[in-house]
């Protein structure tokens, strides 16, 4: 069982939390512009990696706030806990991924 470092409450038992799936999935800026395949990607497709995974957790039996966790899905090691509006922690990303993230963020800012 995990002990998870809630950004607001500190270290608490996993049983107080609920994982609610992959993080950093951005809601389409203009929903009407999407075709069915793009909707499928947004609604259903998930990266489901064997290794580093970025996910949303809620402290559902505590402060009820949401936050993001970077976690390894094989070793189960929690690499980082960060707030929902923060980008993926840079130290976990390769150069390519950092470049990609920068593009995503700039498009978010435009919206």
């Amino acid at each position: 069982m995990y002990e998870i470092d809630c950004p607001w409450c500190g270290l608490r038992d996993e049983s107080e939390f609920h994982c609610t799936g992959e993080a950093h999935i951005i809601r389409p800026e203009d929903p009407y512009a999407l075709d069915d395949a793009q909707w499928t990607d947004y609604l259903h497709h998930r990266s489901n990696p064997k290794g580093l995974h970025f996910e949303q957790w809620q402290h559902s039996s505590g402060c009820r706030k949401w936050f993001n966790v970077a976690r390894d899905t094989v070793t189960y090691e929690i690499k980082a806990v960060y707030k929902v509006d923060e980008p993926k922690p840079a130290f976990l990303l390769t150069d390519d991924q950092s470049a990609n993230q920068a593009t995503v963020e700039s498009s978010e800012v435009k919206a």
């Binding site: 994982c19 497709h45 998930r46 489901n48 990696p49 064997k50 976690r71 899905t73 070793t75 189960y76």
Partner: protein
Amino acid sequence: MQNFSIFSLLRNSMTYHENWQQHWRSPVPKKQYDVIIVGAGGHGLATAYYLGKVHGITNVAVIEKGWLGGGNTGRNTTIVRSNYLWDESAHLYEKSLKLWEGLTKDINYNVMFSQRGVMNLAHSLGDMREVQRRVTANNLNGVDAVILTPEEISQRVPFMKINNTRYPVMGASFQPRGGVARHDAVAWGYARACDAMGIDIIQNCEVLNFLKDGDTVTGVETTKGQIMASKVGIVTAGHSGVMAEKAGFRLPIESHPLQALVSEPLKPLVDTVIMSNAVHAYVSQSDKGELVIGAGIDSYVGYGQRGSFQVIEHTMEAICELYPIFRRVRMMRQWGGIVDTAPDACPIISKTPVRNLFINCGWGTGGFKATTGSGWVFAHTLATGEPHDLNAAFSLDRFVTGKLIDEHGAAGVAH
């Protein structure tokens, strides 16, 4: 293949059972096959078996990273039933159940299929209405199902505390033809029958990548070199996402650890399978006497083949509440399997965006019961290139069209 019968058993007893054939060979992979199946679990081996038996395609290799039947086939709670709500699922699982009924004879291997009945408990008025709806739907689809009253449940399972405070039992659905089978024997029996038809089962051979010519798959790159094939089928359960990524497409699948546990062996006590969808606790008793208990899944994505302690704790609380007689029973082993869950809790048995590459995944928490039917329809899909009527609805395409099969809110919660 040596035939198993009372006569061969007697004959071999004369030589102290030292002259039995090996169940299957360990062949060196050929350069080229008609069909490669990735994953030698129950579903993959069943697919190979029906490719040979029904479609006459025996130039087939089943490639397995570890040992055959070592994944979810060896980790489930062995329950077989077909009482699903929606037509598409009911037909597919009922086909599977019919194949189960003849499987031992079909593959000349005792899979110890025991139709001891499966009970799904209702703990609230809402549960009870769901039971009535599902039993009616089952009967309309030709699936056997009846509603049991609390008195009838008490008669069948006298040690269940019907009037407990936390999870009162208001009734149950019961499928008399449901039951359990010996999970390892299913993998071994199919493997032996495949081998007898000349199908190669290649263990300890990991698929590293898919070889493609444009958007058509031409083979696989493995730890034992390149193996070419006209068609490739992916049947890798929890690792379906990993395989799809190698092949270059995305899946609506997430992999979670699902836990189960067994107790120390007891004298015969539980002569049926008792499931409780609402509390996600189910129990049956193996022929060795162990209570086989299924727990829930962890909410996070995980490939660790182990799960969180509080999930088991939650299940055991419910088990102890419903069956106070089990409170002092010691649990012997606990383990996790990696289940591939789709948003609608239904499988994907489908073509993929890559030509000649097919996938059979998304069985989530309840694939064992469908081992037979899953192999049967996937063999049809691989042989003809098109889905059978029974699996046409279970395409990848349904996540684009929106025609999902919503078993998650219906019968698909507990397995």
